[in-house]
Assembly symmetry: C2
Homo-oligomer: 358 residues x 2
Amino acid sequence: MPDDRDMLDERSIKVLWAVIHSYINNPDPVGSRYVTRKYAFDFSPATIRNIMADLEDMGFLSQPHTSAGRIPTDKGYRFYVENLMDEMEENVSVHEELIESLTKRLDDLREDIYTLLDETTRTLSTHSHYLGIAVSPGPDGSTLRRIELFPYSDDRIAVILFTNEGIIKHKILKNSFSFSRNDLNKIARYLNREFSGYTIKEIRRCLFDEMARDKALCDSLISRALSLCGDVVACYGSNVFISGLSEILELPEFSDVEKVKELSRTIEDKHAVIKLIDSLANEEGVQVIIGTENTIEEMKAMSIIASTYKEGDKPAGVVGIIGPTRMDYSSAISLVDVTARYLTKILDEGGRQWRRER
Amino acid sequence: MPDDRDMLDERSIKVLWAVIHSYINNPDPVGSRYVTRKYAFDFSPATIRNIMADLEDMGFLSQPHTSAGRIPTDKGYRFYVENLMDEMEENVSVHEELIESLTKRLDDLREDIYTLLDETTRTLSTHSHYLGIAVSPGPDGSTLRRIELFPYSDDRIAVILFTNEGIIKHKILKNSFSFSRNDLNKIARYLNREFSGYTIKEIRRCLFDEMARDKALCDSLISRALSLCGDVVACYGSNVFISGLSEILELPEFSDVEKVKELSRTIEDKHAVIKLIDSLANEEGVQVIIGTENTIEEMKAMSIIASTYKEGDKPAGVVGIIGPTRMDYSSAISLVDVTARYLTKILDEGGRQWRRER
DNA sequence: GCTTAGCACTCCCCATGGGAGAGTGCTAAT
DNA sequence: ATTAGCACTCTCCCATGGGGAGTGCTAAGC
């Protein structure tokens, strides 16, 4: 909202920033006297009071009750994130430490992205003291690298799926036919030739078309191969990783048990979380969702910082931080940014040799 | 403690049972008047008071403060679990419902034990309203069914491990040699011939012996095969699944946030949980650990009901429930019992055709 | 006209204290 | 051995009131 930006003079902006800055560090309503003293304004508390009253009228601040100090509204935080954060603060890059910690913890895991993401959420949460969250690539983020088949028991076969992103999925399929190992090798070769390099989503669509079109075509091995592939690809979904509950419980926001219950119910519901995060999956760079901007009722008191990590130049999955609206946006944002870039780099190194021109 | 049993006459036992029964349903200290009325004793409150005072002297009950009612001690619960539970209560088998729910949710998952166990904890927690917990088979619970190898990239190979318990582990190994697919097939055949049917732990020991003994023997393919196998087997560990935090937060025990923090810290530490559970892994039947009997400091206020599930007749992993000491032991125990048996059955059906005589 | 000092006012927070209620232990009577 | 009666203890709840922090408004000052 560039309008808002224009509505505020230098002085108001400074006051708004001071209130938010103070409130982020300490969740007490901020009073006029405190602002003048702590932030060394050349005005008396009375002047600051007038300014704060104006800011409240404009919707940037609010009062818990008459005769308490002001606290930022979601709109206030939004303004802060968009206009104030960078210019008011020299962005201290304490991120060497983070990168070091990421490197140390993640470097061995680059072949197994699920463990990798799980560890990532741990690192995010210990560094931010909020919830760390990660979503693994879904059907349109994962590119098939290879598929392997072999007999598992008399009537079952094992399918192993490798993707460029380092995801390894296995599935045991019950099959009415019994395939010889040779058959399976042939099928695997066929599927690899046909589908590797495509995303799971593309493969799904392709299978769908193929089957619709070629019902007549009855090369039985191929049609069996396709249906096999369909079975595996059908249940391909994102995984969600969240950690740091004990971190976030330390915040005064969660001294009320009801809040804790609400939060734990929400994050136990993976579907809700995926829905929440997926809307961000196609945006570039770090996304910030503040409080009520959120779609999930139980999360209206929380903010989300998220960014996609990529495989090649295609968005794969999402990493982020969930914390209270009173969040240290500045460091949270750079934390998420650095982490997403780091994951992208890891995937890049792992996937380079495999990426296929199309 | 058979001594205790003898120390208590019929009447005292009835009172003890009444106090525990009442307290389990409602966490208020139980008074003498309440006991006489609610449990239809033929004595006056004064008599009950005397009995309760005796029970307190013997350590079965305690008072939060003078002039409050009595609450059970851990020793009281222990006595209840060992002597009173079965005889005082007709064990209502509401477990058709549970089995149905297990069947519905788990039947499709029998080939993937991790998802299976995860769902199991969910079922356990929704039925008990406590925490559901499951530990997957560790090195001495898992029997190798099959090992598969194939090239993954120039300098890496993929190893897939199947166990009788339905565990499928994959690992990407960086290797200084480059193996041809043919080599890998040979190696896999060799390893399967040599090791399938043995537990991971046995394989570890065996590898160790072999390598020590046959350092001289330098059939290079075999020695490479062994070292390959060693790499995979080395990092084989148990997984822990826990769910139902939001269930357990509903209990009045957790109206204090400190308690919640403590609990969430504890269950976030998988190592501690494994340590806690592993001690039970070799016992038969359902185990009950009450409050301070526990080794972990933060869990002294909790009880654990756990049972091993088996593969064949060998204990594989553990399932259980974690709740407050004031737990509905009776139904928790049969819940865990039924669940463990069900898992055993599923494993049995999946593994029968594969079990190998030795 | 902007700024500020002064002041009355509002509202939260917390310590205090008293009363109701529940339950006990003891004693004396049955 | 059991029980009625009673004094006593302790918690919980609520009402009360003072202290403190902060506001809004008004009128005076630059």
